[in-house]
Symmetry: C2
Amino acid sequence: MRYSKLFGKTVKEAPSEAALESHKLLYRAGFIRESTAGRYFFLPLGERVQQKIMKIIKEEMDRIGGQEMLAPVLHPLFLWQETNRDKAVGFELMKVRDRRDFEFALGGTAEEMFVDVVRKFQISYKDLPFNVYQFSTKFRDELRARGGLLRVREFIMKDAYSFHTGKEDFKKEYHRMWDTYTLIFERMGLKTIPVEADNGYIGGEYSHEFVVESKIGESRFLITKGSEVGMHEDVARFKKEEKNLDEKEQPLKEVEAVRGASMEDGVEFHNLPLWQQIKDVVYVDDSGRFILAVIRGDYEVNEVKLKNLLSLNLFRFATDEEIREKLRSEPGFISPAGIKDNLTKGVELIVVGDDSLRTVKNAYGGANKKNKDLLNVNIDRDYQLDKEGDIAMAQPGFTSLDGEMLFEKRGIEVGNIFQLGEYYSKRMKNATFIDKDGKLKPFYMGCYGIGLGRTMATIAEIHRDEKGLVWPDSVAPFLVHLIGLKGAEEKANEVYKKLNEEGIEVLFDDREDVSAGVKFADADLIGIPVRLVVSLKTGDKIEWKKRNQEKSELLVFEELVDRLKTAVFP
Amino acid sequence: MRYSKLFGKTVKEAPSEAALESHKLLYRAGFIRESTAGRYFFLPLGERVQQKIMKIIKEEMDRIGGQEMLAPVLHPLFLWQETNRDKAVGFELMKVRDRRDFEFALGGTAEEMFVDVVRKFQISYKDLPFNVYQFSTKFRDELRARGGLLRVREFIMKDAYSFHTGKEDFKKEYHRMWDTYTLIFERMGLKTIPVEADNGYIGGEYSHEFVVESKIGESRFLITKGSEVGMHEDVARFKKEEKNLDEKEQPLKEVEAVRGASMEDGVEFHNLPLWQQIKDVVYVDDSGRFILAVIRGDYEVNEVKLKNLLSLNLFRFATDEEIREKLRSEPGFISPAGIKDNLTKGVELIVVGDDSLRTVKNAYGGANKKNKDLLNVNIDRDYQLDKEGDIAMAQPGFTSLDGEMLFEKRGIEVGNIFQLGEYYSKRMKNATFIDKDGKLKPFYMGCYGIGLGRTMATIAEIHRDEKGLVWPDSVAPFLVHLIGLKGAEEKANEVYKKLNEEGIEVLFDDREDVSAGVKFADADLIGIPVRLVVSLKTGDKIEWKKRNQEKSELLVFEELVDRLKTAVFP
C-alpha cells in the first residue's frame, strides 16, 4: 500500500475529548474516527488490525472445533420476551419496528437467536456437543460512551454458544475455552487474568472475565498474591473471622438510646465495636415486597450477591416514609428482632441475613422504635432469617478462603466465558435434544464473547511509547513500513515491488513533498513492527529498524526478506 | 470437519413457502434457515460459502487498490437529511431512536457515511483517487421478501465508494470496476451481463447492474443480439421511426366526437392509426403541480424517464375530478393544444412531450371538452412544450439506436456500479478537496455494491442438478466430501487426518449409523466438488468422483492430493 493514496493519514492533534493515550494515538495515527458518540469508523489501518484480531480468534476457535455461522442482527423481540430478557436488559436494549409493525431488538448478545436456530433441527445426543460462533455487529445503548473503543455503543463481537448433553460435557468445553482465550490474547500480546464474575443479565450460574491489567480499566477485582484467578467483588467469597463466639449469650435488653441514625453513632453511644452492631438495609423488589438485609456491622451488603441469593431482578431502597408507615419501624433503629410482629396489614417482608451474623454473640442495634436500642441480640434466639447466605461485599485487605490477603487490581475486560446451564433451554420452548434413552432433554449451554474493538484499544493501550503505537507483529496493520528518502525514490520503488512479490505486507511512504523527519515521526506514530529506510546513504543496503528497539542495521535485500519470513513473524 | 458434529445437517423436506429450487436446496442441504421473513441464519456450511465469496471480492478489490474499512451500521439520521434521502428512500429506510432520543437510520447504503468520514480529513488532490469499501450488514425494509436469499430485509453487502478529482479520473475507475465485477463473478462461476439502469434513490447520472441471466430473476432488460450490454426499460433508448413527415400540415379542426375515453375508442371513431393519435397522461408532483405528459399514441410513458427529465421525486396520477376542476379539461379528451388557456386560477401546469411527437404530422386527439376532438394537431404550431425529451418506454421488438432489434431477457442482479458525480459532495457541506490551484472543489464520486447472500443464491440457482447443489470449486464450503463406509472406518479416519495435514478442506461423513445410500445422497445434495469414498472394496486406493461428472476412479492417496492441489483448484 502506498501511503500517498492511503485514506486516513496521520494528524497532529487528537480531539480534546480523547482522554486516554490509546484513543489519542489511534486517532492521530489514522486508525479510527468517531461517527457519533460511541460509534466508530475503522479506517483502513484500523480495519486491518481488526481483521488480524478476527483471524487469530477464528484460527483458535476453529482449532478447537468451533463452527462459524451468522445470525441476523435484528432479533425478533418475541424471542427476548420468551426469556423475559427484554425487561432484564432494560435501557441498553434498542428496539425497532418495521413497516409491518413487527418489533425487533438490535442484538447486543444472541443467546435466544442461537437457541432458536438450533431448535429448528431435531438434535440427537450424537450431534452434541457443538460450539457455533459468529462475528457480528452488536449494539448496546450505553448511557456513557468512553475511552474511544473501550466503551462503545456499536462494535463487532465474536460470540460463541456451545450446546451439550449435560454439565460434565460442558465443563470440558468451559476449560477448553478458558485455555483458548488465554492463548488468543497471548497471541495478540495481551496477558489476561481470568476473573470470576457475576453473570448479570446473561443468566447462568458462573462466569469469568478475561481482564488485562491496566490503570485505565473499568473492571475492578480482588486477587491474592501469586494467584492466577481474580474475583469480582460481586462474587468474591472471603473469610468472615469469628469474633466473640466464646461469650455466653446474655439476656436481650431494650435500652434508651438518644443517638443519630448512623452506624458510627451507635458505636459511639454504646462504646462497643462496630462488628458487634447489626447493620440493616431495606429494599423494595419489583413486585413491591420489602427485603430487610441484615449483616455484621463492619461489612457492606453487596446487592448483586443479594439479588442472586433471592433470585430477584429489580431493586430500590425503601424510603424513610415506607420504613415508618409500612414496616412500622424507624430509620436508623431497624432491627430484625420483632420487626415482623408489627407490619402494616398486607405488607410482605423477607428478612435475609449474611452468614457473618453467626460470627458474633450479643450483638446490638435498633429496636424498631426511635431512640430505643436492643443489646445482646442473638441470631435464632431473638430473630430468625427467611434466607441466609453470603451477601457481604469483599474488600481489599480481607482474607481469601485460602487464608491469603485480597488485593485490588484494575483492568480492561476483553473477553468473557459464561456457564449458562439450562437457563435458556428451560425458558425457551422445544430447546431440547433426544438423549440416548429416547427422551427429550434441555440443552446444557455455555457462551463466550470477545469484543474486537475493545481488544484493539487494549493492545494499543499496552503496546505504545511516547512516540506512538508499537503493534505486536501478530496484529500490526502492515509488517513493514518502508520509507524512501530524497534521491532514492527509484530504489525504494523497486524494494517495494520486490517485497510485494515476496508476499510481505508493506506500507510504503512514497510521499515526495514530505521531509525525512516527518516520515520517521509518522512511522513511529503508526507503530508498524519493522521500519525499512532506503536512502542515498544506505547504498546497496537497506536500513532495518524494529519499532520496539533502538538500534538499526544495514541489510541486503535477501537477508531482510529472510528475517521477515522467519525471525520476526514466527 | 466431521459431519457427525456439524451443526445444520440435511433434511428431507423444504418448507412449503420455498418456491425456488435454489432456496429448497440451500434449506435441505443445511446452508440457511429463516429467522423471520427475509432475515436468514447462515449455518456453518452457508457461512463458509459466504466467506469464500467475500474472499474473492476482497482479493479483486484489493488488487485494484481498494482499501477495506468499516463504518457503523447505525447512521445518524441528520446525514440522510443533509442529502434529503431520508425522504427519497421512503419506507425501505428503518429508523431507530436511542435512549437519548437521538435518531438513526439502519444503513441500507452508506454514501453519506463515507462522505462524512472523508470530510473529517483535509484531502488534497495528491491523496486522490481512492476507493474505500466495506463488508457490512445492510437493512432494507422490503414490502415483500422472496426467493430465499434473493430478496431479503437484512444482508451483508460489499459497498465501495470512490473519490476523484473529476470526471476523467472517475471514468477510469468506473471501467476498472466494470472489469473487476466481471472477473469477480466469473471466478464464482457466474457469467454477468452489464445492464444500464436508472440510478434511483442512489442519485447520480448513470449506473450498470450486473445481471446473471435466469428465468427466475426479477430484473428485466432489453438487449440486442450479439450485444454484451443490456438496458433497463427505464433508460433504454430506441429508434422512433418517422411516420408521415412528408405530409403537409393541414388546418387545425375541432370536430364532434361522441366516443369512449380510451385510445382504441379514438382509433375506431376516426379510423386513423394509433400512432397518429396524441396520448396524454396527467400527473401531480409532490408540490402539487400538474404535469401533462404527451407522447405518440403507440408509445407508453415511462415514469422513471419522466421523473429524470423533470428532476422530480414523487408522482401520482391526477384524478378525473382534478382534470375537470383544476385543468378545466375532460378525461379521455385532454389535449396539449390550448389546455393552458383555461386553467383554474393558481394552478400550475407543465407540459412535457416525448420527442416522438416530432415523427408525426396532423395528429389527432381530444379538445379539452367532452365529445370534442381536434384533427390536424401539429407541434409548435398548435401546442408548445415546456420540456421535451425521451420519456417513452422501450419494448421488446423495438429497434435499438444501432438499428438492431431489442429482445427481452430476465436475470438476477448480483451487483451494481454507479456514477454519483457530485450528487453527494454538492449536497453535503465541506465535501471538498484542495485542488492544485489551492481551491476547494467538490469530490467526483462513484459507488459499487455486491450483495453476498443474493450472489450465493444465484450460484446455487445456476449450479445445481436434480440431485442437489453443484458448487464451483472457488466457493464450495469444502473441497472434499470424504465418505467412510462400513468396515473401513479406521482407514477413512486416517485419510481424513492426512488430508487435513495437507491443508485440504474436508467434510468427513463419519456417521456410523447411516447407510451408504444416505451418505451418497447427502453428498450429492450438499454439492461439494470432489467426493472421496473409502470402503472395503477400494483396497489401498480411494474412490474419486467429481460432483459434476459421472465417472469415478480409484486413486492412491498421493495422486489424489496432487490432483486436489493442482488440477481441480488452480
